[in-house]
């Protein structure tokens, strides 16, 4: 019922991250309404301004749109935008580390790739 807040990250930031995760997971789709500020505030016993600040971050990032008197809505293409950001982050930050590990352990890249392709083929068949 109660979320565990990390004391070292401002709560509004953690709220923003939660909504982003919901969009990435597809729980919130294009055009879907975000839970109202009042509901979130009441549910988690947070100051409404904290909730508003978290939502404002999403507006500033272009992921969410504020419609007057109606609330906040996920923008079309928000998930794609987030995926693009996540992919870029992976390629720029995580991938070089993976490559470094592969080299350090002397793994055969062709073999690794084959395994990945086999797995996704198997996954496709299961769909």
């Amino acid at each position: 019922m109660d979320p565990k807040w990390n004391e070292d990250v401002p709560i509004y930031r953690q709220l923003r991250d939660r909504v982003v995760a919901m969009i990435l997971e597809g729980v919130l789709g294009d055009g879907d309404a975000l839970p109202s500020v009042r509901n979130v505030a009441a549910e988690y016993r947070l100051n409404p301004l904290t909730v508003l600040k978290g939502y404002q971050e999403l507006v500033d990032e272009g992921l969410v749109e504020k419609k007057r008197g109606r609330g906040m809505f996920v923008n079309d293409g928000a998930r794609l935008q987030l995926l693009k950001d996540e992919r870029r982050r992976f390629i720029e930050k995580e991938w070089p580390q993976v490559v470094a590990t592969i080299e350090r352990l002397g793994l055969d890249t062709a073999e690794l790739l084959e395994q990945v392709t086999q797995k996704s083929d198997a996954g496709d068949k299961n769909d």
Binding site: A41, A42, R45, N47, T50
Partner: protein
């Protein structure tokens, strides 16, 4: 911003005891202020002064009025739940609504009935037939059906179980608070309200030890976990409080640069409860 409550040098003595000792503060419109202090710190006396229920020395303006001399006018725009929230045990819920309707100009019976319909409180029940949690729900429904500019809650959830306590604050935020109204809450269970406050005041032995917005706490206060030589270095920077936890030193700092401290150990923002202890013990030292 407009200040709704302004206190300057307010004091209240009971015989030789200074229950409130030269206190000054402001509460702005649209804020949720938490007044935190142990039993006997002067919380209730201060609230009584704000509500015009006691005389005092110093200046106090509430909604632009002198609370003690203009109490009647003040009461039309203020609502209040006391820590000893007592409703007559023989009264029926409907009679209570009749009474409120006939005595309070800003009371909305429709609103109270709507709020009550979401609880298990039956309208034909007498107060003595209700559980403690239900009495609090009844109280909150009546109080929040008053269109008031300032709501004062003195230990509103004292003696309630955790489910009722959470529901109480949830309802307060969903049914009452709209960013225009102002709430002043006292409690000694600070953990359950710290995230809903915009401002916080610590009071102990009649004096205010801290008066801050919640937002600026991380800028001003750092809790450092450290040991050995770094602990000695940190101690020279003048912590307001120090305690031992699992063989490590935990020090609380006020107004010391966080990055500087982070080089001497693990730097966090203290929880409000820990900060309260640090301020109270720091003031005593």
């Amino acid at each position: 911003m407009t200040s709704l409550v302004t206190a300057s040098n307010v004091s209240k003595r009971y015989g030789d005891v200074r229950a409130v000792d030269n206190v000054s503060f402001e509460i702005e419109k649209g804020r949720i202020m938490g007044l935190i202090g142990p039993n006997g710190a002067g919380k209730t006396t201060l609230l009584k002064a704000v509500l015009g229920l006691t005389d005092f020395d110093g200046q106090l303006s509430v909604l632009g009025l002198d609370p003690f001399r203009q109490r009647k006018q003040l009461m039309q725009n203020i609502s209040f739940i006391a820590d000893v929230a007592v409703l007559p045990r023989w009264i029926k819920v409907t009679q209570l609504l009749d009474f409120m309707e006939s005595t309070h100009p800003n009371f909305s019976r429709k609103r109270a009935e709507e709020l009550l319909s979401r609880t298990k409180v039956r309208k034909d029940a007498k107060v003595r037939e209700l559980s403690k949690g239900m009495v609090t729900q009844l109280h909150l429904s009546i109080i929040t059906a008053i269109d008031a500019k300032l709501l004062v809650l003195d230990e509103p959830t004292l003696g309630l179980d955790i489910i009722f306590r959470k529901e109480f604050y949830g309802n307060l935020l969903s049914d009452y608070f709209d960013g225009e109204r102002t709430i002043l809450i006292t409690t000694h269970q600070v953990e359950e309200i710290e995230n809903l406050l915009t401002d916080i005041m610590f009071i102990n032995e009649g004096r205010i030890l801290l008066d801050s917005s919640m937002e600026s706490l991380p800028e001003n206060f750092v809790e450092l976990t450290t040991s050995g030589e770094d602990a000695d270095k940190a101690r020279r920077l003048g912590p307001i409080h120090e305690r031992d936890v699992f063989g490590k030193k935990v020090m609380t700092f006020e107004g010391v640069d966080r990055e500087h401290l982070a080089r001497l150990g693990e730097a966090h923002t203290p929880s409000v409860a820990d900060l309260f202890v640090a301020k109270v013990k720091g003031a005593a030292a």
